[in-house]
């Protein structure tokens, strides 16, 4: 356990060194929010008359709209009901944004970051190899699940096949990126210019474990509002709480320049780096 406290400290240091060398500044944003981000399957923990953040995303984008260009945060986030070997209801997210770039710029940042993180380590797990494999979501679903979710989307089938067929079949000895998600799973990503069937979003897997999520950020306030309203209706239908919309966020999107961002699970990264199979090994105060 003490060994892994040192590992976390070293990891945080290397992350800060990397981002500062790239011209990013470290920021802090509120943990308690009146209006958490509305997503269909992410539930915020109530905290008095606020909610604990499920992600720092909306605050970061407001700062981009105000003129910030390269920002990162080591952010404690909270998600209700997520508990397992790879989930904890309270966890640390490394989140960063930069203007003037798309999701492929974000991928280059991520590759450079991971190279920095393992640079001085003596034993580097094989999945940190420099040989990155990049597949489209359509490609891996056609190969391992036998259907193309971009042509015909089925949300329920997608989640089950992703977990039970696709993820177990991904290469484990190198970083794997799945990109171009069906438009239905756009989250806060923009649709691909010239191919609106897919969203400019990718997810990184290390050793078969989902570790980071990135977008070319959506900057259209009308489209963003329509998405939040749709997910609000779907949440209502599922009997889940519906959050108020963050009007200030829509105002800011009007000013926000094109940008890209990444959210990376720091506890999972530490777990994979240290060869652990469960977050138990890297979180000393687990329930």
């Amino acid at each position: 356990m003490i060994k892994n406290l040192r590992e976390r400290d070293a990891l945080l240091q290397s992350i800060r060194v990397f981002f500062h060398s790239e011209g990013f500044i470290e920021i802090e944003t509120p943990v308690r929010l009146k209006t958490p981000c509305m997503e269909l399957h992410i539930d915020a923990e109530p905290s008095g008359d606020h909610f604990l953040r499920t992600s720092p995303e909306l605050c970061h984008k407001k700062l981009l709209a105000c003129g910030a260009e390269k920002i990162f945060e080591v952010a404690k986030c909270f998600r209700q009901g997520e508990q397992g070997d790879l989930h904890n209801p309270e966890y640390t997210m490394l989140e960063w944004y930069r203007t003037d770039g798309d999701y492929m710029t974000a991928l280059a940042d991520t590759q450079n970051l991971l190279r920095k993180v393992v640079e001085r380590r003596r034993d580097v797990p094989s999945m940190f190899s420099n040989d990155w494999k990049i597949f489209t979501v359509a490609e891996v679903f056609e190969e391992f699940a036998g259907w193309n979710p971009v042509e015909e989307f089925d949300a329920d089938c997608f989640d089950f096949d992703l977990i039970e067929k696709v993820e177990p079949a991904l290469p484990k000895d190198c970083p794997v990126v799945l990109k171009d998600y069906p438009a239905e799973l756009c989250a806060l990503a923009r649709l691909k210019p010239g191919n609106p069937q897919v969203a400019e979003r990718w997810e990184l897997y290390l050793g078969g474990i989902e570790i980071a999520n990135a977008y070319s950020e959506l900057t259209d306030p009308v489209e963003q509002r329509a998405r939040f309203e749709k997910w609000g209706e779907q949440r209502l239908a599922l009997g889940k709480p519906v959050y108020d919309l963050d009007e200030e966020f829509f105002q800011c999107l009007k000013q926000m320049p094109p940008a890209c961002g990444v959210a990376l699970g720091l506890d999972r990264l530490l777990m994979i780096l240290t060869g652990a199979k469960s977050l138990d090994a890297v979180l000393p105060f687990r329930d």
Binding site: H41, H87, A187
Partner: protein, 188 residues
């Protein structure tokens, strides 16, 4: 009823009318997707195992299991007959339902029987039972300290590994949960 967020290893549930136990449990959730509760399940009636995944809103039936105290009475052919300590009602269990427990059961033994909808599923013996060794090679004289084991048999033919110093006629204690030798009670 359980909801899927109650699922965990060891939980007893009912699936398709049969009592089952969750033998392995994993919480999965794609970052933007729905929670999926993946279970390995064993059917307590048939012993067979299978995989089943549950979604967030799914409901799972609790298994109506009840455990009662019984006394072992007698053997009747292939059946073992127990009487309910409270009602004196008799229950018959087949040899295959008892498994290895049939070697350790003795007259008047106090046991617990697990029922599902009044159907007997499983019997739990006291953790230890004393049995006489009826057959084993004599050990080397004076050798009472080594960890070496040798084969031995008890009266009903059950084969068990015992330390080298155990002789025919000795009474030994056997752990009924593992079927293994625990210690010597008295010399024959």
């Amino acid at each position: 009823m359980y909801s899927s967020s109650d699922l965990r290893k060891g939980l007893k549930i009912e699936m398709d009318g049969d009592p089952c136990v969750i033998t392995d449990f994993q919480f999965s959730k794609p970052g933007k997707g729905q929670a999926i509760y993946r279970c390995k399940i064993r059917n307590l009636s048939t012993g067979s195992g299978f995989d089943r995944s549950f979604r967030s809103g799914d409901k799972v039936k609790k298994a109506a299991l009840e455990s009662r105290d019984f006394t072992f009475s007698y053997e009747a052919g292939d059946d073992y007959v127990f009487s309910d300590n409270a009602t004196y009602e008799e229950v018959h269990l087949g040899a295959e339902q008892l498994g290895d427990n049939k070697y350790f059961i003795v007259e008047d033994m106090q046991v617990e029987i697990l029922f599902h909808n009044e159907k007997a599923l499983d019997v739990t013996l006291p953790n230890f039972v004393e049995k006489e060794i009826t057959d084993t090679e004599p050990g080397a004289r004076g050798d009472t300290t080594t960890n070496c084991n040798k084969p031995a048999r008890i009266d009903n033919g059950y084969e068990i590994a015992v330390p080298i110093f155990i002789n025919e006629g000795d009474i030994v204690r056997i752990d009924t949960r593992t079927g293994q030798y625990a210690d010597r009670v008295s010399k024959g």
